[in-house]
Amino acid sequence: MSVPLATIRNLSVAYDGETALNGLSFDIPKGGRLAIIGESGSGKSSFARALSGLLPANAALSGEIGWPGFEDRQPQAGRDLCLVLQDPATSLDPVMTIGRQVAEGARAHLGLAWPQAMAQAENLLARVRLPELQRLMHAFPHQLSGGQRQRVAIAAALASRPRLLIADEITSALDMVTQAEIVTLLRDLTRDSAMTLVFITHDIALASTLCDRCAVFHRGRLVEIGPMAEVLARPGDAYTATLIGAHIDLASPRLIEHFQEKWEPVFRPEMRQGKESGGER
């Protein structure tokens, strides 16, 4: 492998003496999609913040994050790397229109004038496949659904053409259909681009549909890292195996025994009529 994007060496993070991350060491390769998998308390969000240099003031960081992918200079959050969070409501400005919000990044970091920045914003919003762009450009965040807001947050992150996009549980507040759409979007956005994606999630199956590499965190430690397919096929750690075992999809065995007595479907003609007369009003 060529020069990695980032090298993490013995990274630890503690909040007021409580350890959140403990001695992480691994490389993030350039390009590609790395999944960070962990449950609550695994330290995965602390990792996202440490990587983007956005740890809160009471956090103590030790160890090193090297950035050979950025010619060894410290990348700037918001320009060289962007962080998208679970709740876009907290990262979008509630009193700024969607168009300006996205244009702001392009203007500030690419040095575009407002008209060009707005045009760029429209392009970006089209790339994240938001509908009715003309109306949306002038809408405010609260007028959008959760999935749409998350798309805006991604568009705003892409505005400065970052080399690294960190997505921290960005689908966990969304329903499954919207989640699948966002994951498809991320897959398409990163497919033909040099941008590296770090996708942080508790859902190993979701990660497997998107990422090529996978790192499993447990209680602040890295328990396993490797190519996605290899980790899934031959988990090297009991914890990873537990995670895979806990996954439920449409092929999993059902938890209830097959019941004998038939359950009559609802069919009550008198109600149907009642509905139609009610529906006329």
Binding site: E39, Q179, L232, H247, D249, L250, R254, L255, I256, V266
Partner: protein, 257 residues
């Protein structure tokens, strides 16, 4: 069995929001027999939670009827409604907000036991212990403030509170969505074993079709306030009839190995 435990017919609710009228639940009908689980799936905003609250009588419907245990559930008032509520309980999505911030595990369960005089006061302690044991909470957690419990422990406590009044039906509104996968699996197993042991019925609401499929005998798919498809679990997931159901099936992430 002739009469189902819960029969919902033509239930509708419209909210007025900022001058606009939003049809949250529209002409919804289903039956839920004893000892069975009906899974209710749909995207966010499809009206699932409103339906749950209508069934629980936390909000009043505009039209429709609900029969619970053979009685007209919507006509109950005052003390008779409060007493009848013992038989229909609910578990919310976010266990952090489902308990009074001042509550401890013990006080939350004691309230439920006291209101419905489930056991004589002198047996209340033993009953609390039994309930906590049933959901896998060890006795040392009794005096913990609910805020000091983990998410999984809180959700177990919420289930214990729902069980305390000896219900026939528990409405679970996205009860597992906020939990880690491992804990989600444990709670699913717990729900299934409680159903086998006590003949409980569940109205299990989730946006995750895979989880619903694992636990529900029947599935109803909701979209824009309507039930668009309803049937045996294997039929709905195996041979979906509507584009909504197909989209829900396609959205379930599969382990790609």
């Amino acid at each position: 069995m002739s009469e189902p435990l819960l029969r919902v017919s033509g239930l509708s609710k419209t909210f007025a929001s900022g001058g606009r009228r939003v049809l949250a639940v529209s002409d919804v009908s289903f039956d839920l027999p004893r000892g069975r689980t009906l899974g209710l799936v749909g995207a966010s905003g499809s009206g699932k939670s409103t339906l749950a609250r209508l069934v629980l009588r936390l909000i009043a419907p505009d039209a429709g009827a609900v029969h619970f245990q053979g009685r007209d559930w919507l006509s109950l008032r005052g003390i008779r409604l409060r007493q009848a509520r013992a038989k229909m309980q609910m578990v919310f999505q976010d266990p952090a907000s489902a308990f009074n911030p001042r509550a401890t595990a013990e006080s939350a369960l004691a309230d439920a036991l006291r209101i419905h005089a489930i056991v004589p006061p002198e047996d209340r302690d033993a009953e609390i212990e039994r309930l906590m044991d049933r959901v896998g909470l060890w006795p040392a957690l009794r005096v913990r403030p609910v805020g000091a419990l983990s998410g999984g422990q809180r959700q177990r406590l919420a289930i214990a509170r729902a069980l305390a009044t000896r219900p026939k039906l528990i409405v679970l509104d996205e009860a597992l969505s906020a939990l880690d996968l491992g804990i989600r699996r444990q709670i699913l197993d717990l729900l299934v074993s409680l159903q086998r042991g006590e003949g409980l019925s569940y109205l299990f609401i989730s946006h995750d079709l895979a989880v619903v499929r694992a636990i529900a005998h029947r599935i109803a798919v909701m979209d824009a306030g309507h039930i668009v498809e309803q049937g045996e679990t294997e039929t709905v997931t195996g041979a979906p009839q509507t584009s909504i159901t197909k989209a829900l099936i396609a959205a379930v992430p599969r382990l790609i190995t």
